[in-house]
Symmetry: C2
Subunit: 505 residues, 2 copies
């Protein structure tokens, strides 16, 4: 066979593979648009058909992804790509997706989908009625399925590893445990010190009735200022904020307007962080498996960077507080320091999504420990409420008054997302770890932010992270960017320093 | 073989067929949502990926629809369904779709899609620059493709028949010609009489700057009042209004707000007419080929009914003018009759989409005759502008000053929609023909509308038309509803009576 012939055969495999993957991407994008529409615009009547359509498209995508042809193409392509190339990464990422999709039998996938769909409604009702008992047997089934799934996926040390790996490639329960072990002491101490501080923060002026149009104006302004492109994205309203994308050049943020003015501001910056990551992928990778963020943890590191490290900094508000006060004169009495303290108030509370930066990881810790116990069988579902409340007492010093604001608060478990929570804390850790490296290269980030110049910060993140898309594993990426594996030191140090200042400790 | 076995085999064929058709429906719905989003919300950056995604999903839908399996299932099912049943109709409608899709070779479909995509941009530019020459060769290719397509589809009498049938099953060029022959004389005479009337209409007060939020409020109010459900649909803004749907219970209208206040009002009612038809299908047919309007002509009859016969009636405004004047005090000087005359002003103009009810069909006639000449080859594309202008002189008594407001004004030809225009006029004819039957059954429609009670009108249309979905052919449906084939008499009579009154002729 002539060399030319070999080259052409090789490229045939890759071409066919890429075209099959593009089909999968088209189907998954259709599902993403349907989901976005459902959360932002769909009238109530559309729900039934929407569910059916998403189910059918999901089945088609799954069939394509797990087809024998896909398996053979991936195997053949793996032997043809050159080490370290983009194509090699594309094949690796797709093979992982293929493995994750094929290891679990279709019947279990179907059972899980059916149960999630039922469970969601049951959970909504149980939470509304504060009736854990009505949800318990469903939750039990959900953990049964997770256990089976983990067995099919396989793991080396702990059953949790298989589940966590789906969301954060290569991460294990041991990693998570080590992370929390390092975090627990310092965080609990910090919360305690803050609680005992004589210099408490009053943020009551941040609650009120805020003109929606003005909030929209302001959030779009800051989101655009940090670099989110409205030529290549937009922001809509949804009851539960999220970020999705239909292309690298079409990224959709959502936000919500509540009585706490920080909801829209920090929610928008959080989603914009996800959005900047997505918009930052190389356009050449659009509609391929290499486009977009590499894992939930790394993704969360970016949303938390823009929400907390940038958006809750004094320098950021040195630039933006006057604009905000012009729109909302009722906030005019805040000086910069007062505002900075108000938006950084720390207070143990029941609801994770409303938690401040310091207590947030304690909420995650509770969930991680309970998931492990439930999976191992050392805790039974019926005892979950009491175990949950005990951990809130231990770590946060408060006892949830109801299960609705206790173990029924999160959507995840009803959606079969078990093993997902630790990625939130990983994101928090990584945000500080990455930021410390950024500061070394970029210089005086406070001066930049105070001048409203976010370009050097964004540029660094783009070069180091966003432009890498999903080419490297999350572990490799973290090491490449920060020169070390993920750790808790930068985070604990950064958080402690910040909140010692806020609370004058 | 046991009878039970046969029954089960029969039902297997239908079950499989329905499931394949549901897959096609899911893909087409995904395309519809992508299209809706593109016209209403998509940021500019999303265009490239959107085009690719729609192309891939369209190819998948086409592959499924034209697969050998689909062909065999349809053939087998046709022998199993009982005459007159819904299943028989479903098989008939799907078989027609299968035939239309399979008769044209994939290569021609691809050529047409590629050319349309190029042609759209070229047309936009040519129209903007008033440069017909730059678009001429593309238009020539488009008509070449249409000619080839017609030959593949087949026809009995005239090449035009094959093209028109795609949009209006069973309709022929001879039907269209007969329709226009009957219309031409009376319409040209009516326009002339109006032009010479001493009792001219001044609608200048309808032009101005109108608060968008108030327009939204008012159009939503009237659209809801006539029966469009916002639980099962919504209204958004788009540069070119349209109606689409993702389910019988999820129908999307669009409108636009312009300096002519009638744009939003009558545009909304027009799209709501399409929407009421879609919302009115039996829910049991949701996501099947029997759901939704049966043809473009019948669909247009409903949009024109709600826009013109209802929305431009004096009775309608007896009810709604006070509401409108409350929102827009600058319209306060209108009495009912003055307003009624203003919104029914007749004046030959260049642009079809802005034409009044009387001159509208003359615009269509021009296009139909030119399409026939171009397809037959008696007119060459390079001579189109002059032929166009001559017909405007002959039928409307005006000469377009530029090709931009002449033969370059419509999007259709650049989109490969050739043979489509006559369905607009068919819709106009049918709207009056159907309305006359409705009045016989429902009684004093003017009294109902003046009281804001549209339920009996909607109910009649639902029973007679909307609940029939696509079960009957358009011809059968028209005969079933009106007791006769489509004709021009009711239309000419109704229009003449109305405008003789408006202009005091």
């Amino acid at each position: 066979m002539l060399p030319g012939k070999i080259a052409s055969l090789m490229s045939d495999t890759l071409t066919t593979l890429k075209s099959k993957l593009a089909d999968v991407n088209a189907l998954n994008t259709a599902i993403a648009i349907m989901d976005w529409d459902q959360q932002c615009y769909m009238p109530r009547g559309g729900a039934e058909a929407r569910g059916a359509h998403v189910g059918l498209l999901g089945r088609m995508a799954h069939e394509l992804m797990t087809s024998d042809e896909m398996g053979k193409l991936l195997e053949k392509a793996a032997g043809e790509v050159s080490h370290g190339s983009d194509d090699a990464a594309m094949v690796r990422v797709s093979k992982r997706q293929y493995d994750l999709s094929t290891k679990i039998p279709a019947s279990l996938v179907e059972e899980k989908m059916r149960l999630s769909s039922e469970a969601h409604e049951l959970w909504v009702e149980a939470r509304a009625k504060n009736d854990f008992a009505s949800f318990a047997s469903t939750l039990e089934k959900m953990f049964d399925i997770a256990r089976k799934e983990a067995e099919y996926l396989g793991y080396k040390d702990h059953i949790y590893d298989a589940l966590l790996d789906q969301y954060e490639e290569g991460a294990t329960a041991a990693d998570a445990r080590e992370m929390f072990d390092t975090l627990k002491g310092p965080l609990v101490d910090l919360v305690k010190a803050i609680k005992e501080s004589s210099n408490q923060v009053d943020d009551s002026k941040l609650y009120g009735t805020w003109d929606v149009e003005k909030q929209r104006q302001f959030t779009e302004k800051i989101v655009q200022a940090v670099g989110f492109s409205f030529e290549r994205g937009r922001q809509d309203v949804a009851p539960h904020p999220f970020c999705t994308n239909f292309s690298i050049a079409d990224v959709r943020l959502t936000t919500r307007y509540k009585d706490y003015i920080g909801s829209a501001i920090f929610g928008s910056l959080h989603e914009a962080g996800h959005g900047l990551y997505e918009q930052g992928s190389p356009m050449a990778w659009d509609r391929t498996p290499l486009a977009g963020g590499v894992s939930l943890g790394v993704h969360e590191s970016q949303s938390r960077t823009w929400e907390n490290i940038v958006g809750r900094s004094k320098a950021f508000w040195q630039h933006f507080l006057p604009d905000l006060q012009k729109l909302f004169p009722e906030l005019g009495s805040f000086d910069l320091n007062g505002w900075y303290r108000a938006i950084n108030k720390v207070e143990p509370s029941f609801i994770r999504v409303e938690a401040d930066e310091v207590t947030y990881n304690l909420h995650i810790l509770v969930r991680f420990e309970l998931e492990c116990d439930l999976l191992e069988g050392t805790l039974s579902v019926k005892d979950l409420p009491e175990a949950w409340n005990q951990k809130y007492r231990d770590y946060l010093g408060i006892t949830p008054e109801t299960d609705s604001v206790g173990c029924l608060q999160d959507v995840h478990w009803s959606g079969a997302l078990i093993g997902y929570f630790p990625t939130y804390s990983m994101g928090n850790l990584l945000s500080y770890q990455i930021w410390n490296c950024l500061r070394k290269d970029v210089g005086d980030t406070d001066a930049l932010m105070a001048a409203g110049d976010f370009k050097p910060i964004l540029h660094w993140l783009q070069q180091k992270i966003y432009l890498q898309g999903s080419k490297y594993t999350p572990r490799d990426l973290v090491e490449r960017v920060t020169g070390k594996p993920m750790g808790a030191e930068d985070y604990i140090e950064g958080l402690t320093a910040k909140y010692r200042e806020v609370y004058g400790l």
